[in-house]
């Protein structure tokens, strides 16, 4: 609900979005047990994307992503299994929407898939986020 010009509350219909994003990111700063990645995403929204990968163990990471489409942002968080094969690391799991801003202030969603591959040498990251969200 948001007020109109006269201040009366106006209902805003919630809508469901099939979120499908592919991001190409690079590391920011010196990766340690947390890797901060920034880049651009294409798909449902063409916008900037940031991903934080926290290395929990050799086999598990927690992932936080934020996309910034026009009019706001959407943030999600979850965990993923991690496996290395040669020079690449592969991760896959699910996240839940934890919040949003602006037009996406009421964003929600669970069981959103996140997967990707990261170069262990350069930390160049490709990530896929896909699932149903409510905004």
């Amino acid at each position: 609900m948001h007020p109109n010009r006269s201040g009366d509350p106006v209902a805003r219909a919630a809508r469901e979005i099939n979120l499908r994003e592919t991001g190409h990111l690079h590391a920011v700063g010196e990766p340690g047990t947390t890797i901060i990645e920034r880049g651009t995403a294409t798909g449902t929204f063409n916008c900037s994307i940031a991903v934080h990968l926290a290395i929990v163990s050799a086999n598990k990471v927690t992932a936080t992503f934020t996309v910034r489409p026009g009019g706001g942002s959407i943030t999600g968080r979850g965990s993923a299994r991690f496996a290395q094969k040669g020079a690449n690391g592969y991760f896959g799991g699910t996240i839940a929407i934890t919040g949003g801003t602006g037009n996406f202030a009421h964003a929600s969603g669970t069981n959103i898939g996140i997967s990707g591959v990261i170069s262990r040498e350069t930390f160049v990251l490709t990530v896929h986020v896909h699932g149903q969200i409510h905004v």
Partner: protein, 263 residues
């Protein structure tokens, strides 16, 4: 699925000339009691730095003039926060069969992640005979569930053998981030003879002493892999490690060690 344990049977050569000293059987049913100690260190030991982990455990036999019971499983618990996944250790994978057939040179150099030594006690009349061999740690075949590590041990005298111990980096609970679980195969000294017993094992996990190679414009260019990230904060009593050993006699022993917080 774990890599198969391999013993290159064609390469086990028995020094029969030394057999009179080795053939005396160890009394069956003798149960050696053993304790274990653990040492660990970081090289360098600096918060936030990239490092090589060095660990070593030793089995102490409480019964004199008798080899300890053979170790059958080693569980090394690693401290929380170590950035193993953000290192560039193990940029290639080692196929266990290639390791058994060709030794360390049968696998890519970029699969090596550490090296050390292993000491085994060979049962004999009187004091057990000790044999020391080299140890190389390599990343095994890719696994979607966990990281596979292969330990390749090679000894020469008095028993010539080349052994592969399969290990896996598994999940763990606080204060540990993971555990390196390694199966140690029982190794008979000779057909029907007693098994050798690992009494000491040391290894590094990290870039210290390692050289990797990348292909650049048709040439192999050497470089050093990136080490394991040390957390920027040190726990109150240092970075804790623990080793759990399982012995053939059914007993289990544990030992702890902490890498002190750098000053």
């Amino acid at each position: 699925m774990r890599a198969r344990v391999g013993i290159s049977r064609a390469r086990i050569v028995l020094l029969l000339l030394a057999a009179p000293a080795l053939c005396m059987s160890v009394p069956l049913g003798a149960r050696a009691a053993q304790t274990v100690s653990l040492e660990t260190s970081f090289h360098p030991n600096r918060l936030g730095a990239r490092t090589t982990i060095e660990f070593g455990f030793q089995v102490h036999n409480t019964v004199s003039r008798q080899a300890p019971s053979p170790v059958t499983e080693v569980d090394l618990h690693l401290p929380s926060g170590l950035g193993l996944a953000t290192s560039t250790l193990g940029l290639a994978n080692c196929e266990p069969l290639a390791l058994i057939a060709g030794g360390v040179s049968g696998c890519p150099a970029n699969a090596r992640i550490g090296f050390g030594s292993a000491t085994v006690a060979v049962p004999a009349q009187g004091e057990p005979i000790e044999e020391q061999g080299s140890l190389t740690a390599l990343v095994g075949l890719p696994n979607s569930e966990h990281l596979e590590v292969l330990f390749y041990a090679e000894g020469h005298t008095p028993v010539f053998a080349q052994l592969v111990f399969p290990g896996s980096v598994l999940d763990d609970s606080a204060p540990f981030s993971g555990r390196l679980n390694t199966a140690i195969p029982l190794t008979p000294t000779w057909p029907g003879g007693p098994d050798v017993a690992v009494t000491r094992m040391t290894s590094t996990i990290g870039p210290r002493g390692l050289t990797y190679y990348r292909h650049v414009h048709g040439k192999f260019v050497p470089f050093y892999p990136r080490g394991i990230a040390v957390p920027k904060r040190c726990p109150h009593r240092g970075f804790p490690f623990r080793v759990d050993l399982t012995f053939m006699d059914g007993t289990r022993q544990s030992a702890t060690s902490s890498v002190p917080c750098p000053r």
